[in-house]
Amino acid sequence: MTELRVGSVSVPQDSHNLLTDLVYDKNKSEEDRPFSAIVEAFRFAFALGYASNKRGKRVGAGITVAPRQFVVSDYEVLFREICIEEDISLGALCSDFAQGGCEIIKAHLERGGTVLELL
């Protein structure tokens, strides 16, 4: 039986930019920036991808999310079987779901919606 691998978490540059624009700035109250930090925005995108069962395809160099802030083992209970089955690391699977989430967010914002309406 294949061992479960942890791996690292990352998103492509454009998704990272998207997530950065969702971080709260008290001087930009009129902009849609509901999250307190980029990791919060990442976690939201990951959860959105998982809930919608949408995995995105990451193209180009990825920007790593700090493992201390997003602990992939917290989600082992959800993904252990998939990871073993597909032989991918937990980090990679989380990153795929986050990318999927980013794509949903981007599309929704382009339609004039707000991020939290995606709940």
Binding site: S29, F44, T114, L116, E117, L119
Partner: protein
Amino acid sequence: MELTYLAIANIGPFKGLHQFNFNNEAGKTGFAIFSKNGRGKTSLFNAMQWALFGEVFERGSVRSGKWSEGRKRKIVGDYSKDPGPLMNEDAYREEKIPEMSVIIFASKDGEDIQISRTAKSKVGSMPREDEDLNRTLTVSVGSKAYQDAEGQELVEQLFPSELRRFFFIDGESLEEYVNLVKAGQVGGIKDDVESVLRLPALTRGITDLEKLRHDLEGEMASENREKRKMKKSAREANDIQIQIKNLTIELQGKERNYEKTRKRFEDLESELKGVAEAVSHMENLQKLRITRDALKTALERSAKARHDFSSNAWKVLIWNRAKSLHKEADDQMGNIQSSKFRIDSINNRIGNLEKEISKFTGICSHCDQPIADAESHKRKLNEDLKKKKNELSEITADSDLSADSVIQTMGELGKLNAPTGSKESILDSNKNWIEDRRKLLNIMELLEKEESRGLQGVDSEGLLKKYENRGQMRTTLSRMDPIIDDLKLKIKQKEIDFKRLGGGKISNSNTSKTRVNSTIGDLLNVMKDTLAKYRESARTRVEDVASESFRNVINAPEALTGVIIDENFNGSIRGANGRRVTMPSSGQEMTMTLCIMDALRRVSNVSAPIFFDTPGRSLDDDHKKAQLEYFWKMRNHQFIIFPHSGEYKIEETIEEFGGLIGGAWELTWPTDCENCENCGEDSPMKEGVIMRCMNCGEKWDISIRQTTVKVLEVES
């Protein structure tokens, strides 16, 4: 004053009128009234006090080093008490209008004096209280008569009541007085010395002045307190005055500023009136900007709230999907629990079957009867056991999940669940933010339009500045108004406080009182000095006179040379060595006391008869004789003794002192008569309560308790 005649009626045991004549041609001053106990000696003694002073007291005593009179005796009242009322009981009960009276006839400096005092019922028979009596006093001097208060004043001059106890000496109270005179008693005879010197008036004067001074000092202290208060008030008033001044300066400054600002505001207003359209534009701009700023603030608040709530947004999303996994695990847990229960139950059954098979004997364990088909029964048990073991292995094979791993899964999944209501809170906060943003964007659009409108020929920037200035001035003026009002109110309150504190004025009212107080102080010092000098002079005089008397009366004048009255007015006997005798006998002490009393009386310069009830009490025969010899020899001082038969024997006394006695009487009751009053026969016959003379047949009732006065014959 010399007593010449005495008449008493209905007093004590004396019913009706009884008379005593103190006149004697030889000018002898000794008198004696003999009797057994209860025959009226003390009543007679009291009768004279009552005639002179209008009141009689029970026996006095020394309390806290001071002589105190006993309670005042009533004239009528309860006769069952001891001592009873003064009025004769039979007269009180029998007479229709009871009356008690005493008349004293006397002479002074060749003038006749008559003192007549009467108490007569004004309510008929048996008056219950002294208030039911009419009490009158008539004092005649020569041909002039004085009634009641005026008469009493005259008696007081002849016989000062405060010296009463030196003239009316009660032998039974004498021991008390001895104690007062002896060392160790507080104050000793100081009060008596003051009395004989008539110093009480001076003492009272000192007391009155001290009281006056005390009151005055009290007033001054109160005024001083008031003055201190006023000084404090004055200081406070000055502080307030300074505060008023400062507040007024501040108010004037504020009013000047207010006036200046108001003027500039009015100028600006009139200037802005000329460009009304531009002003309207500026006002719109101003309003929109204010609204924009307010909406910005609101949006900041809602953005912050949204950001606070959104921290759980990811959990909401995860849980949308993970909750089914959680449910699945929960179901698995249910199955595991159920399997475990079944396994326990089967294991239990297997255990029982194995036990039953191993102990099988063919006898029923319940009823102890042989089992009909034992072999068949045992076979059935073995089959059941096999079946249960198969069932157990099937169940065990099915449940490959452990309860612990399922619990762990459920725990980890549970961590991904958002708190209840998170989704609603996040969506609500998002809606609020959207709404606030919409409002802000609308206003910003309007503002942009208004800003782009502009006005031709108008210096918008300059106008805006002026407009802003006007707004600021209006705000400044509206802020200054309450400040000025507050200052005015403060000044008003301070002015009221200033007035309340009397405007800081201080009065000087007690300067004259200080002068009066000082004068009283000087006067008091003079009076106290005088009193001290008088007292000292009197002390030495009383000591000298008492020593002279003592040497005459005492039976050992060589050993006991006189009386010492020390600076504390305590009396003692002086020995031959000039020192105080340490252990005198009670008779010597009694004699010393009598001599001090005699000295006090002589120093007082009051000339009046001396009445001595039970004079021989506590004295031995030698002293008793010496006492009579000395006192009865005194010229100008009548000395009337009231001895009972145990003190001085009548015959012996008359025989021995007949040359000094001016008059003697015996008070008797009928039962005392051993000889017939009619014929002088000395062997009367007693028949019940009647005595009958065997010689002349005269009869008398011995049950009667009425006193008869018998004049005794003395040497003329």
